[in-house]
Every structure is written in C-alpha cells, then in structure tokens.
C-alpha cells in the first residue's frame, strides 16, 4: 500500500502542498485533503468584495473537481482530533459524523480560528463590528458599507473606523487595504467629504504591518513604510490611532488601551476590525488517551514545529529562531505550515499601555509565505517517502514576501502599494544594518500596483485550479 499523505486544510499552504504532491508524488503516495465547505478562497481580494467592487464569485472555486482532476482524494469536513502516535486524524463531516483517516504523513494547514471572543463584544455575531476575513464576512461588510454609502449620499455624516480589533492581532495589511479601498470608493462616489475615516491599529508605528516595518533603497536613499503610510493617511485626510489595542466593543463604540495614553474609546457608525487569530482547536491525543494538546501547541493554539520557542525580548530575536522544515519536534511525520504553525515570537516592537496591556502586532503569514511553506513541506515529505531526511528549508528569515496593498480597484484610476521584503524576518547576521537586502526590497505606490494586484488575482486563480502551466507561476 502506498504511503498516505493527509493534508488538513486547503488554504494557501495546504492547497499548494496538495498541488505539488499531486504533481510529484502521485505515483508513490495517496494524497488526501481534508477541508470544509468544498471551496478555495482567494483571500487577498476580499477587500474588494467588502467594498462591492468585486463579485464574491471571482474569489472562490470548488475544490472537489480540481482534486478529482489532480488525483487527490478530497474529504469534505474538518479535523477535530489528531492521534499522532497511531497516525490517525478524526474528521467531522458537515452532517456531524466522525470518520477516522489513517496517515503516514500529515500536514496541519488548518489556518486561523477567528478569535472574536478574545475581544468582548467584537465581531459580526455580536452585531457590533464587521470583518473581511471570510467570504461571508466580506459580503456582510459590503452590504453594511453600501447602507452607509446610501446615508452619505443623502447628506448624513458618518464615522467609519477600520483597523485591528485586538492588542495582539495580525493582518494589519489587509485592514489597511480595506481602509484605502473605502477611501477610494467614497471618493469615486463623491461622498468622501461627509465621511470621517479612522485607522485604528495595534502597530507601534505607521507602516509596521506586523513585520517590524519595511524599507527599500531608492536612488541611494532609504524609503520607509512608516513615511509612506503617514503620507498616504495625511494625503487622504484619514485620522489614525497607533499602538492601540481594542479591549472591548459595545454597539457603536470601541474601547482601546494605547501606549503612552490613558484608555480611550472611539464611536463609530461602521467598523471593520480584524480579530485576533488563534490555532484551529484540534485535540492532540496520545496513545494512552491523554490529551497532549498543550504539549503540541503554544498558548495561542498554533502547532509547535522546529522553531526555538525560548522566550526572548525584542532585540534578542534571531533569524535562527524561525523554523526551517516545519516539522513537529516530537513526531517526524507531522508538519504544520502557513498560519497553523506557531511562530517563535512576533516581529514587531512591543508596546505597553499605562494599565500594563501589551500591544504587539503579531506575525502575518501572507499567501506567498504560506505557499512557499506548503511547497517546502510537500518536498520534505517526498524526501522522507524516498528515504532521505528532509532537505528543503524556508525560514521566515530567509524567504521573501511580496505584498500588493490595494488602494483602489480600477484599471485607470486604481492604485496600490507594491511591497517586497527579503527576507520577512530580519537577519542581522546576513544583512548587517537593516536585517534585509534593501536592494531587493521594494516600496512603491501607483497605478502599476493596481494592475499587479489584479494580474496576481487572475494568475493565482489559474495556478491554484491546477490549470496547464500552473507550475510556471512561482509561489
């Protein structure tokens, strides 16, 4: 019998791993994917769904036909228990029935649990704030946003608060994109002057984006993300509250703690606040029936891999802290990739409010980084199947990330910030000074970014459906 490779999750990491395994290991292994809802979502474009400038149908495709074509066995359900000693995963189907799948190799690529409950009163379920983290959330946000637009068109004044809903949340880039797209859309509709936009973020300073800021060398000078983002906010008349951790939300009001300031609150008519991410709650059960979840994961629920989890202060963070092969230190046939692996620490500088609340943007794992991890894990599993030790590595401190932050989705009038970081996590030994290769880093704003963002959407929807030539498009 061929080795069974089971991938939990079909996001950027899991689906990329499935694509590469189907192309390179179909003859030597059976590849299974366990994911709920039978769909892949292209998350980077949900900010456009949330402003009504893109249909949700353009951001998703059905997984089952793709996997059938690629020879991958698809299980519609979600993993609820992992028995790593015996190599079994318990999958709960949509009808609530549990089924066991045995594996020889397993990849945990389950993505984030949106921890709205981490901030009292936050989220669409509480009916207070909105999100663009899922298609359904983005559609709800669009509907509420369009109601706000109707009110503005009738002459009302409205305050829209957009940003981050927890002191230790991530994904500031997506929230910033949504903010900029709302600004662009309101201008296009001629109602921007009646809307007050507020950027509420846990970043220590503008342009941090959870990666400790961005720099690039341009014509011999150093351009920074901080100066760029401040310029964009000022140009557009957007108010900002930095280093602020939202601690509670009530209808129409968000309470926050801020570094160097007393606790405060901001009232809103519309709020899109990204929640904290935690690991998907999977139970890890040992052979003797003991629940070993706390030994397999960090406190945030993300799975331990080959990282150095020794607590360190900012300034002592090292490039070698980051995992190389994304394998469990305890089980050599269990991997975690994408958002599911536990980062050793954040990248951003921590701040504290006078009340002692730590405000620290956590590490984003963007589509590009997650895709690279998914491919790396796939190649390492092939190594193991063929009797070699894992030979592929992709530390966050050695991989690049490209991020195109949209500021308006239009072919003629759109704009976007094009950002390239190399590497994501600073490596001061390899790159003294800034910890990154500033000649490769990019920081640019303009229409070219808008075209790039749209081109990447089309190219990756092609690639991820496994259409001819998909391997020519790199992660």
């Amino acid at each position: 019998m061929k080795p069974q490779v089971v991938i939990l999750g079909a996001g950027f990491a899991g689906h990329t791993a499935a694509l590469h395994l189907s192309a390179r290991a179909r003859g030597i292994a059976d590849i299974h994917v366990v994911a709920p809802a039978n769909r892949f979502t292209w998350f980077p474009s949900l900010i456009w769904v949330g402003t009504g400038t893109m249909s949700e149908d353009l951001c998703r495709f059905e997984l089952a036909p793709v996997y059938e074509r690629l020879g991958v066995i698809y299980h519609n359900g979600r993993a609820v228990e992992l028995h790593p000693d015996s190599g079994t995963v318990i999958v709960r189907t949509e009808s609530g029935q549990d089924a066991a799948i045995d594996y020889d190799y397993c990849v945990n690529a389950t993505g984030p649990h949106l921890n709205f409950e981490g901030t009292p009163g936050l989220g669409p379920r509480a009916g207070t704030t909105l999100s663009v983290c899922t298609i359904e959330h983005a559609m709800q946000t669009r509907d509420e946003y369009l109601q706000i637009v109707t009110g503005l068109a009738r002459g009302s004044r409205r305050r829209l608060v957009i940003g981050i809903g927890h002191p230790a949340a991530t994904c500031e880039g997506a929230a910033f994109e949504y903010l900029m797209n709302v600004d662009a859309d309101l201008r296009r509709r001629g109602v921007r002057d009646r809307a007050e936009l507020v950027w509420l973020t846990n970043e220590p300073e503008a342009g941090d984006f959870g990666v400790d800021g961005i720099e690039a060398r341009k014509r011999g000078m150093i351009a920074t993300g901080a100066s760029l983002v401040r310029m964009l906010l000022d140009e557009r008349g957007i108010k900002h509250v930095m280093a602020a951790g939202v601690t509670k939300v009530e209808p129409g009001k968000a309470f926050y703690e801020q570094a160097g300031a007393d606790p405060s609150a901001v009232e809103f008519d519309f709020a899109m606040l990204i929640p904290q991410f935690r690991g998907i709650p999977i139970k890890y059960i040992a052979d003797d029936g003991r629940d070993i979840s706390s030994e397999m994961t960090q406190a945030n629920g993300f799975m331990n891999v080959d990282a150095d989890y020794t607590p360190k202060a900012y300034g002592q963070y090292a490039a070698s802290d980051w995992p190389a092969i994304y394998r469990s230190p305890r089980y050599d046939r269990l991997y975690a990739a994408g958002i599911a692996f536990a980062p050793p620490h954040p990248l951003s500088k921590p701040k504290k409010s006078p009340n002692g609340v730590t405000i620290q943007a956590t590490v984003p794992r963007t589509g590009m980084a997650s895709g690279i991890m998914g491919k790396t894990v796939a190649l390492n599993i092939i190594d193991q199947i063929e009797g070699r030790p894992p030979s592929h590595h992709a530390r966050m401190s050695e991989i690049p990330a490209a991020c195109i932050a949209s500021m308006g989705n239009s072919f003629w009038n759109g704009s976007a910030a094009s950002i390239i970081m190399m590497p994501v996590a600073r490596d001061f030994q390899r790159f003294p000074g800034y910890g990154r290769d500033l000649d490769l880093c990019e920081l640019d704003v303009g229409l070219a970014g808008a075209w790039t963002k749209r081109a990447l959407h089309s190219a990756f929807m092609w690639k991820l459906q496994g259409h001819p030539g998909w391997q020519l498009i790199p992660e």
């Binding site: 590009m368 690049p400 490209a402 009038n413 704009s415 094009s418 390239i420 190399m422 390899r430 290769d437 490769l440 990019e442 640019d444 704003v445 303009g446 229409l447 070219a448 970014g449 075209w451 790039t452 081109a455 790199p474 992660e475």
Partner: protein, 34 residues
Amino acid sequence: MGAFWRQFIPYQLWRFIVINARMYLIARGILGRH
C-alpha cells in the same frame, strides 16, 4: 514621488514590468539566494 507620476501611464507601465520581474525572479530564487 508626486501624484502625477503615480498615475502617469507610460511610467507606470515601466514600473509594472520592473515590479513584476523583480517579484518573479525573487520568487523563483534567481535573485536573493546567497
């Protein structure tokens, strides 16, 4: 960079080529691997 250059199509076409080429070469590992 001024607002004019951010929307000036010939310059933005050039930037589109440069940014995408750089992204492709970095993602392929042709640039940036030491």
